[in-house]
Amino acid sequence: MSRHGGNFTAGALVGAICLTGSLSGVAQGTAPNFAPDRNIGWYAYNRLFIPPPSGAGPVLQDPSRPYVTNDEFRVTGRQPTERVADLDNPILQPWAKEVLRKRNELILSGKRAPSPTASCWPKGVTAFLLSPMTQAMYFIQGPKEVVMILTSFNDVRHIHLADKHSANVKTSWYGESIGHYEGDALVVDTIGLDDRTRIDGFGTPHTTQLHIIERFHLIEDGKVLEANVHVEDPGAFTMPWDAIQRFRQYEAAVRQVPVERLVQLASAPEGPLVEMNCADNPNSFLGERDTIPLPQAHAPDF
């Protein structure tokens, strides 16, 4: 089984450079163009999925314990709080619910829950969509591949524009994603995901049976990117469920907070992508936080 250790910055940037030369072939016809120029990055609305208008939805915050994100703290000064999962969500199989219950218990006892992201683990496909408002996601659309790069730790997803998955998909941090343009949407189908990643910041677990279909499309005259996410995993969930995430472009993101107070928000002149290597210094000097070891590869993937 292929397990990519560490992050993919170097490979991603090389790949990005290679693809840049092919951009003229992007977005023919009605296919969406998520990167009309190299500075266009997409900033997530929130760190939690938006539930669908109806039907089964993602794990959300326990409504009795309001979640104040770091982003909200940056804007309002309110005391940040931890995510506490709503265990009443019927999508959870008992074992998955127990995983969340234990994490909730840790948080509610005043302790810090170990975070795979804090230990430089790749985020996985769904959590990739839930990064902070300060860390943009970039698209590079080529004729054979779409690359998604997240400023946060420079995580990278590769979406192969193909109609069939490989015969024998090996599990990996980001699995195997195939995609195609369907009207105004990029439709991405992903399988083969390593079960060490998490669905979201609550730590919702999944198995290697996880199957995700995403539809990325532009709304509001191209100013907002919406991802409609469909999730199935008969090993972890009782039913398929859906979720939504939306992203703003830079100008809309900085309208949420005076940029002079949020200097880390990547600006177009300094874009498109800043270096952010988690493993540069994953050490904590503030207690027991980093209890999950850094991922390490014992053999190269090539």
Partner: protein, 135 residues
């Protein structure tokens, strides 16, 4: 000992000092209070995802203890005028932090006064009343 509690209230939040690459929740820090910590710089780690100021501070018994001040990553700090050499070992500095809620010797960086009196950061900056980042 030179630990002085400056005061409470969220208005003491300094947005420009908030760490840039928050790969963990800031819930560990007390955003409603600030504390001044005076001591000597032991080490300044100019690193991603967080930079760190390690300081040696005298406790109430006159013994030196290490305090760890978490900062943003180099990109955000550079935009604020920091360089890897802004702090050097041996410098006597005064930092203002959001302290750890569990009492650990450390906190989240808000401002610092250098030996020549230069102040980086603004502890009196008001919190923004703008809408949050969520939908």
């Amino acid at each position: 000992m030179k630990l002085n509690t400056l005061g409470v209230a969220g208005i003491a939040v300094v947005m420009s000092a908030v760490p840039a690459f928050a790969h963990h929740s800031f819930s560990m820090f007390d955003a409603t209070s600030s504390k001044t910590v005076e001591g000597v710089v032991k080490e300044f780690q100019w690193t991603n995802p967080h930079s760190w100021i390690l300081m040696m501070v005298s406790n109430s018994q006159g013994q030196l203890e290490q305090w760890a001040i978490e900062m943003g990553g180099p990109i955000g700090l550079a935009r604020q005028g920091w360089t890897p050499k802004t702090l050097k070992p041996g410098m006597q500095v005064k930092t203002v932090i959001h302290p750890m809620r569990d009492g650990t010797n450390g906190g989240q960086f808000m401002a610092i006064t250098l030996p020549d009196g230069t102040l980086i950061g603004d502890v009196n900056a008001p919190a923004s009343a703008n809408a949050g980042g969520g939908p």
